[in-house]
Structure formats: C-alpha cells, structure tokens
Symmetry: C2
C-alpha cells in the first residue's frame, strides 16, 4: 500500500529556507514573489494492505520521526 | 495567486535521504516499510493574477532554481 505524507511548518513559524528561496528568486529577476514556504513530501511503500491500519501506522511514524510536532503539521494521504 | 510546486527525484535516481528515513523507521520498530522517497513542496504567493501566466512563471522558476533538472521532476499546481 502506498502512502504520501505532506509535512509543513505550522503557520506563524518562521521559514528561513522559504525566505532564502524567495530572496534568490528576486535576485534572478522574478518579481512579484510575496512569500515562499517550503515543506517536504514522503512517499512510503508499505506491506500493510488495510487503508485504515496503514493510515494509523503512518500517523505514528509522523509523531515519532517524520515530523517535528512542535513546529510542523502533517497530512497523510493513502494512495492505495 | 497561490501556487504549489511538487519537486521529486526522477524514478531510478538513488534517494539516500529516503533510504535513511526507511532505515530509521525500521530501527524504531516500524516493520513492513518497503521504501521511502522524499521530495519537497514549495508554496508560493505571487502578485500575478492570471493562472496561465502564473503557471508559466513558476515553471521558469523551477527550471532556473527550484528543481535540479538533471535528477528531479516537478509539477506545478495553481491554487488560485
């Protein structure tokens, strides 16, 4: 079963990486970039075949490893 | 106008970061993780108001800065 996790910074948390990208786009001549925020995506291939069990397993992975629960939120998508 | 860019490694390109995550999940006791591949997501807030112009602009940004065209592919999503 394939699952996708979207991890992003909570709103209000400073994103220096995104700010650096926004600045770099400006120096390259791209105008009108108000802000950039960067997150990550993890595509997991699991042995688990039950969608709900897979979702619970991936959620536990996020809490323990994939996301920093203090400053990040995540969303689990089961792709089947 | 808000745009989202999904950048991921081309299939076949080795993903050491994803492999490290898969290994770490194993050591934490998560069994049945066949593979993990990691990508990034960029959320851009643009002054541009025309969806097609925004898409073209973001595509140019990907080619010049946001993606490594040799090993990565990207997908642009216009969120409106």
């Amino acid at each position: 079963m394939k699952a996708r996790v979207h991890v992003s910074l909570k709103s209000g948390v400073l994103d220096p990486q995104g700010a650096a990208v926004a600045h770099a786009l400006g120096t390259l001549g791209f105008e009108g970039v108000r802000s950039v925020r960067q997150g990550k995506v993890l595509d997991l291939d699991l042995d688990e075949t039950d969608p709900e069990a897979a979702r619970a397993q991936v959620d536990a992975m996020c809490r323990q490893l994939l996301a920093n629960t203090v400053v990040e939120t995540w969303r689990v998508e089961i792709l089947g």
